[in-house]
């Protein structure tokens, strides 16, 4: 059963001379409880694909194809309805937790704001849920954490908080765009374990955008490889990373440090 299905997605962005096609018909499906890794070099369109799902494409973007979430097509949904879905059914975690969190609002404020907005929880219930969420992402002393500010936490802890915010309304789909790229390897390991556990426990469908094939191999179930705005290969993690069908996937694997000597 697919939670989210992207079919024939094309995106054109305004350019100096007319339009440039960024995505050339992307097909992708996400299933609950599975992490779908999206690999490819920068400029291949992986981030654009994630943004399209959230309706966060740059102004002037023209789209074709479909992004189906249940019975809705996100591409044709009116802005008001899309707003109701965004952050609730589909949410996102970005690369850099030092810019994706608001520096001047307390953690509690950032965590309860959209709980109250989307789920219409009262102050007390939202607070209870926030404490529960911080516990889920293993932030020490959740009660106290609500009163603290992002700068009081390390990069890894901030990314955990960003994940807690993304999961607050129990979304069906989580888009994680390079969620561990800004972190040290030791901290990355913890965040990867957390994502895997949350995906399993909450039956979440995750789209993991990353250039790091090691990260991909550690937590993704399925892998798609993008190039020039097209998915060139999709398959199970084990197959794509050890027995790639497409020439381009093979060249990505061969380019890894240490591969030539191994």
């Amino acid at each position: 059963m697919n939670v989210l299905e992207i079919a024939g997605l094309t995106v054109d962005l305004p350019a100096e001379s007319g339009r440039t096609r960024i995505l050339h018909g992307v097909d992708l499906a996400l299933q609950p409880g599975r992490i779908h890794g999206l690999a490819g070099e920068s400029g291949s369109g992986k981030t654009m694909t994630g943004l399209a799902v959230l309706g966060l494409l740059p102004p002037g973007a023209a789209t074709m194809g479909q992004i189906r979430l249940g019975s809705e097509d996100l591409l044709t949904l009116p802005p008001r309805q899309l707003n109701a879905l965004r952050g609730r059914s589909v949410s996102m975690v970005f690369q850099d937790p030092s810019t994706s969190l608001h520096p001047m609002l307390s953690i509690g404020h950032q965590l309860t704001d959209h709980l109250r907005h989307h789920l219409k929880l009262d102050r007390k219930a939202a607070r209870r849920r926030a404490v529960e969420l911080l516990g889920q992402v293993r932030i020490p002393n959740p009660e106290e954490a609500l009163r603290r500010y992002p700068h009081q936490y390390s990069g890894g802890m901030r990314q955990r908080i960003a994940i807690a915010i993304a999961l607050a309304c129990e979304p069906k789909v989580l888009i994680a765009d390079e969620p561990t790229t800004a972190l040290d390897v030791t901290v990355q390991a913890g965040v990867l374990r957390l994502l895997r556990r949350l995906c399993d426990d909450l039956d979440l469908a995750v789209l993991l955008v990353t250039h790091d094939l090691g990260v991909m191999s550690a937590i993704a179930d399925d892998v798609s490889v993008m190039r020039h705005g097209l998915v060139v290969e999709t398959g199970a993690r084990g197959q794509v990373l050890t027995d790639p069908r497409h020439e381009y996937t093979r060249s990505l694997l061969d380019a890894l440090p240490g591969r030539s000597t191994a």
């Binding site: 070099e41 030791t186 990355q188 390991a189 913890g190 250039h211 191999s217 550690a218 937590i219």
Partner: protein, 315 residues
């Protein structure tokens, strides 16, 4: 034995902040770099590796210990002028968006480097810098036409190549790269790192390459030094450190790297955060996070031994 090109001994760098305890970002580090050698310095953020790099270049004043470069002691940078001998140390910074002047043409910025080398008397004063500028652009894999353009016309990877060309143009005998690839796209990282290595080694210069990315350091370094909370905890040849890490911290760092083998193995987590360098733990600085700590690790502070490990397991 030939003297070291760069010799850092018992270096300490302290930062003072009003109303707080001083932070010893570098707390007694000794490190050598030979001519033609690539030394990779790795460690988590906040371990003091960038501070060490800045001290080597004279950008931050040490509070104790010494840095000797090619027989000249490295002191803090003076106003408007650097000791001519020290211009043979050149640095490539992390952010090529910030390190190049956005309002000057690429060629003019590389010509600065050539002029520095001429001022030092290492090369004759060139009649025109056009030829040499073209030479350095070609060496970093950019077209000669790049000289007439401005930094904003280039991608991050290309800008870092320009920064490398500018550094090389000053004919350094020591190149220092402070996280020179971490702001670049993944596809450009390995390329730029390998380029730095080959250009430094070809010209006979030493390279001190600082990075938190162990897999890239493995690719280009002859020797690796692992830093934790202001100290070097292990050093050795790249193959030794990679194949047989001895310090529990090095072991944890390597175990945390996810392998692209398709097996779906979760990398091992190192519990706890890097402690505040202003209030380091007693004894071994790693003991609160160390899976192999034993009786006494919280009291005795191990120093780097002759085998290049600072750990009581190997005392």
């Amino acid at each position: 034995m030939t003297p070291h090109l760069l010799s850092v001994s018992d270096l300490e760098v302290q930062y003072r902040r009003p109303g707080q305890l001083p932070t010893r970002a570098v707390a007694g580090v000794s490190l050598d770099v030979q001519a033609g050698e690539v030394v990779g310095l790795v460690g988590e953020s906040g371990c003091g590796k960038s501070t060490l790099a800045r001290a080597v270049c004279g950008l931050t004043a040490p509070t104790a210990g010494g840095i000797v470069f090619d027989g000249t002691p490295v002191g803090p940078l003076r106003v408007r002028r650097r000791e001519p001998a020290l211009t043979r140390i050149q640095m490539v910074f992390q952010d090529p968006y910030g390190s190049l002047n956005p309002r000057r043409r690429v060629g003019a910025q590389i010509a600065d480097g050539i002029r520095i080398a001429a001022l030092r008397g290492d090369i004759p004063v060139p009649e025109s810098t056009d030829g040499p500028v073209e030479h350095f652009l070609t060496r970093v894999g950019l077209p000669a036409s790049a000289a007439q353009r401005f930094p904003h016309e280039f991608s991050g990877g290309q800008r870092q190549r320009i920064a490398i060309a500018r550094a090389l143009a000053a004919r350094p005998s020591l190149l220092v790269g402070d996280e020179p690839i971490s702001a670049l796209d993944a596809s450009a990282q390995a390329q730029v790192a390998s380029l730095m290595r080959s250009l430094a080694v070809e010209s006979g210069a030493g390279l001190l390459f600082i990075s938190h990315d162990l897999s890239v350091v493995r690719l280009i370094a002859d020797r690796i030094a692992v830093m934790y909370l202001g100290r070097i905890v292990e050093t050795g040849t790249t193959a030794e450190v990679w194949d047989n890490p001895r310090h529990p911290y090095t072991q944890a760092l390597l175990a945390a790297i996810p392998q692209p083998d398709g097996a779906g193995r979760l990398p091992t987590e190192l519990p706890g955060d890097v402690p505040d360098p202003a209030a380091p733990p007693s004894g071994c600085r790693f003991h609160p996070r160390c899976p192999r700590a034993f009786d006494g690790c919280d009291r005795e502070d191990p120093r780097l031994n002759a085998d290049g490990v600072a750990c009581r397991l190997y005392a």
